[in-house]
C-alpha cells in the first residue's frame, strides 16, 4: 500500500470516483501536475481538462473536469470539481458543436455578450476535445 494513496473526485452533483490510486495527472492552473504518493501538501486550482488516474496495478482511467480545486495531502488527494464526468462519456460531436457555438458567440462583437462567459465556455469545449483526442491517441497506440 506504500505505493498508493486515496483519491476522491467529487462534483457538486455527485461523487465521481473514490479509491486507491498510484498516480494522478491533472491540469493545474500553472501547468500539468503529476501527483505521486507522499506528495507535499498542495492546494491548486484546476483548469478545464483531463485528469488521468492510474489505478493500483497500472490501469488508467480518464476524467474530465471543467475547473475546480485539488487538495493534496501526503496520503489523500481530494478533487473538488465544478463539473466532472468520466472521459469515456464525453461526446466528441457535442464538444465540437459547443466549441463552434462558443467561437461564434465570441466573434459576434455587435451583440451584448458576456465575454468572460463565452471565453469560459470556449475553454471548456476545447478542454473536452483535448481529453477526447488524448483518449483517441492512446486507443490508437494500444
Amino acid at each position: 500500500m506504500a505505493n498508493s494513496f486515496t483519491c476522491n473526485i467529487v462534483s457538486a452533483e455527485a461523487s465521481i470516483f473514490s479509491g486507491s490510486v498510484e498516480q494522478i495527472i491533472a491540469s493545474g492552473q500553472m501547468g500539468d501536475l503529476g501527483i505521486l504518493p507522499g506528495h507535499a501538501p498542495l492546494l491548486t486550482e484546476l483548469q478545464p481538462g483531463p485528469i488521468r488516474v492510474i489505478h493500483d496495478g497500472g490501469k488508467e482511467e480518464n476524467f474530465f473536469v471543467s475547473g475546480g480545486f485539488m487538495e493534496v495531502q501526503p496520503d489523500v488527494v481530494t478533487i473538488l470539481a465544478d463539473a466532472a464526468s468520466r472521459a469515456g462519456d464525453l461526446d466528441e460531436a457535442a464538444a465540437e458543436e459547443a466549441r463552434q457555438q462558443a467561437l461564434k458567440a465570441f466573434n459576434e462583437k455587435s451583440s451584448e455578450l458576456d465575454y468572460t462567459r463565452a471565453a469560459a465556455e470556449l475553454a471548456e469545449a476545447v478542454a473536452q476535445l483535448r481529453t477526447i483526442q488524448q483518449l483517441r491517441k492512446k486507443a490508437g497506440k494500444g
Binding site: N8, V10, S11, A12, E13, A14, S15, G28, Q29, M30, L33, A40, P41, L42, L43, T44, E45, F69, E71, Q73, T78, L80
Partner: protein, 294 residues
Amino acid sequence: MAAAKEIRTQIGSIKNTQKITSAMEMVAASKMRKAQDLMKASQPYAKQIRNVVAHIADANPEYRHDYMVERDEVKRVGYIVVSTDRGLCGGLNVNLFKAVIKNAAQWRDQGAELDFCALGSKAGGFFKKYGGNLVAAKSGLGESPKVDDLIGSVKVMLDAYDDGRLDRLFVVYNEFVNTMTQKPVVRQLLPLSTDIGGDEQDEENARPGSWDYLYEPDAKALLDNLLVRFIESQVYQAVVENGACEQAARMIAMKNATDNAGGLIDDLEMVYNKARQAAITQEISEIVGGAAAV
C-alpha cells in the same frame, strides 16, 4: 329531512377535500424521494470541501484569509434563512422562524444589529411582517435548485462581510433527521469556526499550525475562491436539505389532514344516520298517532 340533506352535502365536501389531501400526500411522497436523492448527491462535495477547509484551518497559512479571523466586536449579524416557497407543510417554517428569532434575540441583547437574507418566499413574507432588515431575497427555487440561483444572494452577504458591514454570518435551515423529524438548525458560516466538522479520523496525524500548503498560483487568489466556493456549497446543501424537509413535512401534514377528514366523515355519518333514524321514527309515530285518532 332538511338537516339530513345539509349533513350529506357537508360529508360530500369533506370527501372532496380528503381526495385532494391524499393526492397531495402521494405527490409529496414521490417528490420527497427525488429531493432526498438530490440531497444525497450533493453531500460528498459538501463533505469533502469541509474537510479541505478544516485542513486549511489546521494549517499555518502564509496568508490568513479574512473569513478565518474572529472579529473582536460583533456589531452586525447576518442570517441566511432558508425556507420553503409554498405552505401546507405543517409547522416547518414556523419552527424555523422561531429558531431564528430566538438566536437573533441573543445577539440583539448583546447590542448587535441584524440583517436577513431570505431564500424562499415564506421567509421573505415572514420578515416583511416581522420587520427584520431584509437585505437580499430569492424565491422560486423550485424542486431542483441550482447553485447558480443562490450565488447572487450569497454574494450580497459575503460582500457585506468583506466590507465589514457584517461581523458574523449564519445559515438557518431545517435538518433532515428522518421522514418524521425535521430539526431547525442555526449554523455559523463566518468566521469559519475551528470546529466545522471535518473528518475526525486523521486526528492523530494532525499537526496543527506546523505546516502549510504549497499554493498554485498564490495563496490569496486561491483561498479567496475556495472559501467563497465553500460558503456557496454550504448554503446549497442547506437549500437542498430544506427541500427534502419540505416534502417530508408536507407528506406528514397531508397524511394527518387525510386522517382527520376520515374521522370527520365518520362522525358526520353517525349524525346523519341518527337524524335519518329520528325522522323515520317520527313519521311512524305520526302515522300511528293519526290512525289511533281515527
